[in-house]
């Protein structure tokens, strides 16, 4: 309950934050703090310095202009309060609503969740399914990382140690897009034992022209379920097509997570179940 001592920095700009990260190799970035501080309280994390992004107001901006540019320091709550964001990206809204509890959502940030890359986090599933782009700024300037390359492993992203995640960009839905997020929460932590996000595009005749389906919680890093995506694409998206897609949901996934609460077999099974549930809801079956 008492973190180890650290130096505290509150930069006013992203550039200042980067300089502080360069000067303090031991530093950790503090965003909403709802993953980092619990770890520090148990002394599972003992960073020598904290760089608090809380005073950089640019990072709290949400701009909606066709697509969405979401400042990394936008809280879940702030994003949940945007009706436009909900209309445009229902899957993200649903995932946001599933995060933690109201107190967590009032302070936790979307950028913090993405950069932390907890294997059992809701947000990455939605972001990968939406093919988000991650804007990061470092000593060498700004670069944009596609979702497919951002999440690498447990608690590991493509962020370099001196880089700051500044924005998450979402492209406006192109055509007839439906989406959903379904989750089986852990009874204690509320984290997904399995979470599945689906984003499905239908062509003019109502057939599925593309599908992006992701799993979180049941796997060690958010994963595209390409078997299900392939199975669904080109179909009419009816219940039998969804059933077939769900059967192929775990195809190509090398490993499912297992622990004392739920075996990997169970999580593999849940992945299929929740692919089915999310798709059926999204497609109105």
């Amino acid at each position: 309950m008492y973190p180890a001592a650290f130096d505290y920095h509150r930069p006013g700009s992203v550039q200042e934050a980067i300089s502080l990260l360069q000067e303090n190799p031991e530093a950790k970035i503090l965003a909403g703090g709802h993953s980092l501080l619990p770890a520090m309280k148990l002394r599972l994390a003992e960073p020598g310095a904290i760089v608090d992004l809380g005073s950089i107001s640019d990072l709290k901006q949400l701009s909606l202009n066709g697509g969405a540019t979401i400042g990394a320091m936008c809280t879940y709550d702030a994003l949940l309060n945007s009706n436009e964001l909900e209309t445009m990206f229902p899957v993200l809204h649903e995932a946001l609503a599933w995060v933690g509890d109201v107190q967590v959502r009032n302070l936790g940030t979307i950028g913090g969740s993405a950069a932390h890359a907890d294997p059992a986090a809701d947000i990455p599933a939605a972001l990968v399914a939406l093919e988000a782009e991650f804007v990061v700024v470092g000593p060498n300037g700004e670069r944009t990382i596609p979702a497919s390359e951002f999440f690498i492993d447990i608690f590991t992203t493509a962020l370099e140690p001196e880089e700051v995640l500044t924005q998450i960009k979402l492209s406006a839905p192109d055509g007839n897009v439906v989406s959903a997020y379904e989750k089986f929460p852990h009874p204690a932590s509320g984290y997904p034992v399995c979470g599945v996000a689906v984003v499905v595009t239908r062509d003019g005749s109502g057939n599925v022209s593309s599908a992006r389906i992701t799993a979180t919680g049941s796997v060690y890093v958010v994963t595209r379920l390409t078997g299900a995506e392939d199975a669904l694409t080109g179909t009419g998206g009816d219940a039998s097509a969804v059933e077939a897609a769900s059967e192929r949901a775990t195809e190509g996934v090398s490993e499912f997570a297992g622990d004392h609460y739920a075996s990997s077999e169970y999580r593999e099974h849940l992945t299929k179940v929740f692919v089915k549930r999310a798709l059926n809801r999204a497609l109105g079956n």
């Binding site: 309950m1 001592a5 002394r43 089986f184 739920a262």
Partner: protein, 792 residues
């Protein structure tokens, strides 16, 4: 309601609690709110290993850390004796007692064992220094399972306990039961695991010690459900310090559920540290620390064999239980697993042949002791599962099988075959029938059939329970092994201003004694409710009492209050007779007014009586001034609340997730002083039992590491997982005490876990599933369904 007028009908009213204003305003004082001048803070380094020898401890770096006042190890405090086990198993049985010390000296036996303590100016500094203490361990193999611990080649924890056996105990008729099993028309066997639970009061434990070198007195602030017992045990057994020079104070207590009954190593420790450093020392437990270091509950492995006739009548029940005690014996652990469990395994049923054998074992896990229900939930679970197994096997309605086996109303007081005191009163069929009616049983069974055809798994589960409450008759409990008595005390004083002060040896921590005790006194003394205050929690100022647990406060402590009030009434009559110059037999005492029979204008108001008695200007010859009476009430028997609970669940065929749909309960707790409070007790109890049935379970890995070490892993019920419970009551008055009450604090927990488990098994019975061990988590239920589907 505000009750300023004098009235006689407060007992039975849904009075809102007078405790609440301070609690809803954030103005209560809990353990960690206690701050003393010069106070330092302790942090305890606990063993990272479940079983190891301590080779060496180097605290030099820690001593040099900022703010550190001292670092100590078990060697420094060998003068503190090991803690007492106050409730070993009763006379004639094997007892191999081992208890923990303030800090371990040579060997650690579970990950909660403390090996060193740091005292510093701030908690953070103490924690920093703790991290740099170097301890060299020789790691030893560990065992965590109660049954495996007794097996050949198992790691041995204590020299005096071969095969890790702490005690062996039995009750009932072994030969008769074996004969019944041999002759049974059907005989069923089942292994049941009653998993280990972490009590999890929202406030963790704490302890502050303040030694006064001028008076040689220790003052302790402790998380204690029994401050007088703590003082007694610390004085007589642990610290060897005169009892009158130890004071124990318990402020507002953030829940206990049994876990705060016991004397823990940290309690003598803070006293010793305060004396060593000559300043107050406070220790506040962290939540993860609490999961390791505070006692757990349950953890039984039980084999049952049940014989029955084809009509469902049970003819024999044979029980063998391995009860996990953890690394040492906690304060009353053996008594929980024997008297409170073994003598109750026949439950509400008249089972002609019953035998129960219990082996208490040491393992490299946290100590197990009383947790809400304490033995009775384990007993009820066992017999309620047995009834359902019989009903399922014989294709009989489980409600009918219960009725066939219920102890008949005319059999009370009823003596079971396990040596329990006679059940004081009971009438089991009406409670079951009321529950069936409130549920709409036959309609629900029809709905179940319809849903089954749609592939949905709806289940209805019963639990008919009886518990033993107000465990007190002192001579009896002493024969059971408990080293002291269990009567309860109360003092009632009437001050000069007419205000009444009730002082109790009980220790409320959510049960609302300040309200209910005042309701009782108001009615019986005829004094305005708002003129009565109830005091508790400080050994200086309360009569010796045994505290609050086992649903005993009202049945034993409340009865003591009644006795004190009766003594006050007697004295008032004498004073009134003297002042009004009539015979005592001519005085009537109504609504607090003493008047002459037949001449109501000749009277003394309560204020006049109070003034007269407190000043003593005009009292009968030889009478001492003041109305001040103490009672020590030792009841003739325990009380035996009962009831039937019914759970309705739906199991998700895809995920195994159990959704609670309805919960119907009919309880009989005897007379009810405050229905609002009883409802709250029952609801909270039910949810704790549902927690056991569906979510909770402390898990140790094979090395003795606690896997469910935080609230991220250990799941206690959340609001959204629960439903509104449909409560009802029958009233069978207890003949044991003057109030006719039986106790309500544990009933819900005792009843609910088997109701939910029976409901889940009922839901899954078409698959041929007969049993799943708790917790019935989604992954576990799904695995059982998979297995059944493969079998079918």
């Amino acid at each position: 309601m505000t009750v300023s007028e004098t009235r006689k009908d407060l007992v039975g009213q849904r009075l809102k609690r007078r405790e609440d204003p301070r609690l809803v305003k954030g103005a209560a004082r809990f353990m960690d709110d206690i701050v003393l001048p010069g106070m330092a803070h302790a942090a305890i380094l606990r063993s990272p290993h479940a079983h190891a020898r301590i080779v060496s401890i180097d605290a030099s770096a820690a001593r040099a850390m900022p703010g550190v006042a001292g670092v100590f190890t078990g060697r420094d405090m060998e003068a503190i004796n090991p803690l007492p086990c106050a409730f070993p198993v009763g006379r004639g049985f094997e007892n191999n007692i081992n208890t923990p010390r303030a800090l371990a000296i040579d060997e650690v036996h579970w990950t909660g064992d403390g090996v060193a303590v740091v005292v510093a100016e701030t908690v953070a500094q103490a924690r920093d220094a703790m991290d740099v203490i170097q301890v060299e361990y020789e790691v030893l193999p560990a065992v965590v399972d109660a049954e495996l611990a007794t097996g050949e080649g198992a790691p041995q924890l204590h020299e005096n306990a071969p095969n890790n056996i702490a005690f062996k105990w039995n009750a009932g008729d072994q030969a008769g039961t074996e004969t019944a099993l041999g002759n049974g028309e059907i005989v069923l066997k089942q292994r049941l695991r009653n998993q280990r639970l972490i009590p999890t009061p929202l406030e963790t434990r704490g302890a502050t010690g303040d030694y006064n070198a001028g008076t040689d007195e220790y003052t302790f602030w402790l998380s204690s459900q029994a401050p007088h017992v703590h003082r007694l045990l610390l004085a007589a057994f642990v610290m060897g310090h005169p009892e009158e020079k130890i004071r124990v104070i318990t402020p507002d207590l953030g829940g206990g559920f049994g876990a705060k009954i016991f004397v823990y190593p940290e309690y003598p420790l803070v006293g010793w540290l305060s004396k060593a450093l000559n300043r107050p020392v406070k220790w506040t437990e962290g939540r993860a620390e609490s999961h390791s270091a505070t006692t757990h509950g349950r953890d039984h492995v039980t084999d049952i064999q049940v014989a029955a006739n084809r009509d469902g009548k049970i003819t024999g029940l044979h029980v063998k239980t391995w009860a996990n005690m953890g690394g040492y014996l906690s304060t009353i652990a053996p008594g929980v697993a024997t008297t409170l469990y073994g003598r109750m395994v026949s439950g509400v049923y008249d089972i002609p042949n019953v035998y129960c054998e219990i082996v208490g074992t040491y393992t490299n896990t946290g100590m197990v002791d009383a947790y809400r229900g304490a033995g009775r939930p384990e007993a009820t679970y066992l017999v309620e599962r047995a009834i359902d197994l019989v009903a399922r096997e014989l294709k009989l309605d489980p409600a009918d099988v219960r009725k066939v086996n219920f102890i008949a109303q005319e059999s009370f007081p009823y003596t079971n075959g396990l040596g329990m005191l006679p059940y004081d009163s009971g009438n089991y069929v009406p409670a079951l029938d009321k529950a069936l009616k409130n549920l709409g049983y036959s309609d629900l069974r029809a709905e179940q059939e319809t849903l089954r055809k749609q592939g949905k798994h709806l289940g209805i589960g019963f639990s008919s329970y009886v518990e033993v409450c107000g465990v007190a008759p002192s001579a009896w409990i002493n024969a059971e092994g408990w080293g002291a008595a269990l009567w309860e005390s109360a003092n009632v004083k009437v001050h000069l201003t007419g205000k009444v002060v009730v002082t109790t040896g009980a220790l409320p921590h959510g049960q609302g004694h300040e309200t209910t005790f005042a309701q009782i006194v108001s009615d019986r003394l005829g004094v305005a409710y708002d003129d009565i205050i109830v005091e508790w929690g400080d050994t200086k100022g309360t009569p010796f009492g045994y505290g609050t647990y086992g649903s005993r406060s009202l049945t034993v402590g409340g009865a003591a209050v009644v006795n004190s009030v009766e003594k006050i009434r007697d004295k008032i009559k004498k004073i009134a007779a003297h002042v009004l110059e009539v015979a005592e037999t001519d005085i009537e005492l109504n609504d607090g007014v003493a008047s002459v029979t037949g001449a109501p204008d000749r009277s003394l108001s309560f204020a006049e009586i109070a003034l007269a008695s407190a000043t003593g200007f005009s009292l009968p010859a030889g009478m001492e001034p003041y109305l001040d009476e103490t009672s020590y009430y030792d009841p003739p028997n325990c009380t035996f609340p009962f009831g039937t609970h019914i759970a309705v669940v739906e199991v998700d065929a895809d995920t195994g997730k159990v959704d609670l749909k309805r919960y119907v309960a009919v309880d009989d707790v005897g007379n009810v002083i405050n229905p609002l409070i009883v409802d709250g007790q029952v609801q909270g109890g039910i949810v704790q039992g549902i927690g056991q049935a569906l979510y909770e379970g402390a898990v140790y890995d094979d090395d003795g590491q606690l896997v469910t070490g935080t609230l991220m892993d250990y799941a206690i019920p959340h609001a959204s997982q629960m439903v509104n419970m449909e409560l009802d009551r029958t009233v069978t008055v207890s003949p044991v005490n003057a109030l006719g009450v039986k106790g309500a604090g544990e009933a819900g927990t005792i009843a609910s876990a088997p109701a939910v488990v029976n409901a889940v098994i009922d839901a899954l019975s078409p698959l041929g599933i007969k049993h799943i061990d708790m917790p019935l988590s989604a992954p576990r239920v799904w695995a059982a369904m998979q297995e059944a589907n493969e079998r079918n």
